[in-house]
Symmetry: C2
Subunit: 704 residues, 2 copies
Amino acid sequence: MRKVLLLCLLTAGLRGAAQPTAAPLTARLDKVSLTFALSPAGQPTYTVSYGQRAVITPSRLGLELAGTPGFDGQLQLIGSEVKDADETWQPVWGEVKSIRNHYQQLTVHLRQAQAPGRQLDIVFRVFADGVGFRYEVPRQKDLTYFTVQGEKTEFNLTGNHKAFWIPGDYDSNEYTYTTSKLSEVNSADITPIQEKSAPNRVQTPLMLKSDDGLYVNIHEAALVNYPALMLNVDTKTFGLTSQLVPSATGAAAYLQAPEHTPWRTVVVADNAPAVLASKLILNLNEPTTLTETSWIKPQKFVGVWWEMHVNKASWNYSDTGNLKLASTDWNALKPNGRHGANTANVKRYIDFAAKNGIEGVLVEGWNVGWEDWANNWKEEVFDFVTPYPDFNVAELQQYATGKGVKLIMHHETSGSVTNYERRQDRALTFMKEHGYDAVKTGYVGRIIPRGEHHDGQWMVNHFNRTAENMAQRQIMVDMHESVRPTGLHRTYPNWLASEAARGNEFNAWSTGNPPEHETILPFTRLMGGPMDYTPGIFQIKLEDWNPAQNKGRQVHTTLAKQLALYVTLYSPLQMAADLPEAYEKRPDAFQFIKDVAVDWDDTRILAAEPGDYITTARKAKGKEEWYVGAITDENARAQTLKLDFLTPGQRYEATIYADGKDASWDKNPMSYQIRKQKVDSKSTLKLQLAAGGGAAVSIKPVSR
Amino acid sequence: MRKVLLLCLLTAGLRGAAQPTAAPLTARLDKVSLTFALSPAGQPTYTVSYGQRAVITPSRLGLELAGTPGFDGQLQLIGSEVKDADETWQPVWGEVKSIRNHYQQLTVHLRQAQAPGRQLDIVFRVFADGVGFRYEVPRQKDLTYFTVQGEKTEFNLTGNHKAFWIPGDYDSNEYTYTTSKLSEVNSADITPIQEKSAPNRVQTPLMLKSDDGLYVNIHEAALVNYPALMLNVDTKTFGLTSQLVPSATGAAAYLQAPEHTPWRTVVVADNAPAVLASKLILNLNEPTTLTETSWIKPQKFVGVWWEMHVNKASWNYSDTGNLKLASTDWNALKPNGRHGANTANVKRYIDFAAKNGIEGVLVEGWNVGWEDWANNWKEEVFDFVTPYPDFNVAELQQYATGKGVKLIMHHETSGSVTNYERRQDRALTFMKEHGYDAVKTGYVGRIIPRGEHHDGQWMVNHFNRTAENMAQRQIMVDMHESVRPTGLHRTYPNWLASEAARGNEFNAWSTGNPPEHETILPFTRLMGGPMDYTPGIFQIKLEDWNPAQNKGRQVHTTLAKQLALYVTLYSPLQMAADLPEAYEKRPDAFQFIKDVAVDWDDTRILAAEPGDYITTARKAKGKEEWYVGAITDENARAQTLKLDFLTPGQRYEATIYADGKDASWDKNPMSYQIRKQKVDSKSTLKLQLAAGGGAAVSIKPVSR
């Protein structure tokens, strides 16, 4: 084990040699300003203001190294630069057609006051909607390979803000959000999904709202070769300190200079919609190096998936347990008769997708290993290339191709990442040989290498390497149970979506997601990137599928809200998650899912308040069509929309998928009504959202 | 982290419910007998005797599980069986043509006295030259996935034996052996090669000699899916307790029933040669499942290797440091002019090999990454497929093929095993595409996944998986810095050799290997399998290669002893390790290396005493030729050999490569003399070995 010596005493002991305080350095754009200063003890600090209002009061910065003095004090300022940047770029896919990247950058050059005088730069970028900063360790003689033990980065807040938080579990984000004052942050009574968090540790993106109406969102951008950042909340001072997810050894990151950390981000606005519209995190990510991206296709998909969650089918082919991958004769197993991923059933989904213009069909449970897949911390679980006896790869490839549908591969790793890595090349070759160009990966359970965490440096590197490896083979990927996104879809546009939050399936078999859940997700998890939330459940009450096992279980929204989620929860990859038979019963409502786009030229956040409601309008890529989604929490709510985003002079037909008059998420969730209405840019639209409800609107041009 | 609760208190508290002692059970073959008994506390114990002499006095057995009561006490005997086996099998290659596997087996079925009454079997095999036993966890309802926290296995010895030991470093075996009484075992003052050992912990194979002349060797066989066994020496009682190499989490082994441990082995004999002749460990390994083995070729090789150790060339192409694999332009690097693996130099080795009938040419340093390869605990070090600019893969492939020589691939991992595993498929494909059918692997430095050890379960699985993966592609492998062998070359005959001990190269740049070193290796490290020791150094004094850097350095043997090692240190893969120019200066001595076989029909240990001397005769595979090697420690010694192993009536010419009259390892190591002599089965041969010297003899039939 590497010995960890922080040498704090040494630092304190040398305080007498500290350099004089450096004059404050500043950067500013519009209302946002940032100040950097060095304390008398040589500690770097910063503040952030929004207009006249403080956002971050003086807060420390710094990197602690293992076994050697780091960069958390006893530093000298040896220079600084300010530059301005203003550019516009086009994402391969996204919420808008083009993105402006406008900031003022302050670079601060620091040096250890004591020999060997190692150097650290801190780079700040100030945007109109917040700041980003990162640590950069330049190439230098006396620091090459080094280990980050921790970060001193603080975010000292101005008061006891309202916070939307989940516990700082190093291995899962799949929690419902708690809304509380910072003083009340305490996860001691929250049942851990994977690993128990320290009670005051929370995850990012952390959404905050001050009493005086400032919205502050803290996260990170471009998480590469570094562990995820979590935050320890001081419930007395309202200061946040950094907690990097540790590796198996306890250290945070093993690095080689020149290297930099991810950007720490603070989005700030005086209204909630501006937070959702922020492109700060995307702008802080590197552009993709891919030049040919025509193979990357935002899409909708159906799949053999929800039927397992509602206990109508199983992932596993057999109910025989205690199998070993290498020594099991899978053909000799006794089938359980409930295996969802059988050839005939998959054909049914292919037929449904083909008929309804859905591009993809995901099939989970197609490959051997599901009998013993979870919770055993077992290394050899799946091989990613061997189908169950009742899943005919070649036949389904031919069938799907004939119908113009693409099968989506599934690579569940069970957290056994060493096993996946050593088989990934073979698995991707298998995919390409059999016509798959997209894969959903999964990382359920504890990680192998044992001792590593989902959100630690080693796994972060795995996720990024996987995205890169797949990009090289022109494969799109949707990662479940991955680290939460930090805007890397700019760099890896084949990384269409991640889960990394509590998805819709929790409604199928747990206490579920409260009605407010989807009004918080865009302010938290989605700040970093798209989520494969799997909306579109029509059969809200789940007892119909399996009365014995689903007793009392239901999705905690109305049906109309499920439609609205296709707009309010942005993703280039959207599942129509329910069973074909559920959709076939309600073709009128399903029409919205058929119609709604997954790639956009423009997005307007019409109304939003975290935990309460969101109304979003988006213009379909390359079309004159708009789609609107409006959702509310457990409270019924009326929304009046001005359609002034429509092209003036153009007439449209709006189809409004609304909650029924008597609808409510708990009592009558499946009541909906559909009406059509002619509109133009001068129209207003009144939407009545039921408790836990929503509304979806498609707006298509009509000739005069 | 998995919580570890040994529940010792619970076990103790239930002692009142213990079952009555089971009657002792025994197994026996020739002089060796074994007794099993259950103590009043339900603890399994065993003893081993050799004739009337005790070898192992009553010693505990047992497995401790993490988080649940295991199998170290409170057990009931529920049955036992005895069976006899006597079979003969032919190794793909080896020291002898066929091997007899003759034993009596006692299987003991145990059950926890308390609910849920989990079951454990202990299986003992008693051979004429020792015993093997292992724990077997059968398939059962209440134990499927489980974690072994430790073993209770003890080896209580009868006295203060002489021991030949190295420290219990979890990551390296590359130590000189200490010869001491058990009471004096203490490695506190020994500089660790990788990780400091607890002072009383030693590695296996552990060679012991009792005051009354019993030779006892303790090791293990068939190390699969389990960590290596180390031994804690009680310097007062002379008892040995088990220490399993821990994983990153601290637990020993993650297992799934049915599963079994490796065999714990005790070889016992009343003479030292019988220890070396023992096939007990091989017999306890599983037969290979390979049916086609003609591609597996025992062989000699030369290589671009020793010239780096003697500072005549470098592995790295450039002296530029702090490079990153992915972002370095290797073609733009400034060459250092000392790079050994350049096309012209490799051709020189190919020419030399072709001229002298040497099958293989190893090239180290051919691939990019050596500038920053070691001691950085860096994950992305090598990619195993990118040659340096001055190494022309295609040209060398063609050149070697034209000369009838095979290039041997080199995969140094720098201990970054996750990196190797994710690239291994591509690396092996590259090999096959370029005509390589053998690879030397290396694992220098700390392991990644960080926290794992070279000798822990995860790495054991890696080594075995690598052997298996290579067997599937018909690739032979020689593993350096691997876990020490346990006879798995029976199962994986493509795993020709391992290093896993202190090889000849230590003589090039350290305090070296003392003259006794090679007389101990066959009794310790080689008990488990062949070693790639890299003998054959002719330029004993290394100053000739690079006076500035090699001042005072030398190999700690005579030249003649280097020849003898080809016979005394058995391996199907033997390097002629010195530079071609060293051999070209002494073609008369090199003739022995050209002649000596690497695969054998028969082997006779003519004389041996650990730490003192070894004389071995071997009959070449399929030929009437014999080769004899005789080596001594720092003491000069005369050896008189009866050649009664020769075929009666056949006449032979013996060529004797002996130390010069004035030779000694330190003063005059390169003095040798060669004489020829006609011999037959009635002849005796007198060999005079210098201090640190040896003799090599080839015996070839001549027509009457």
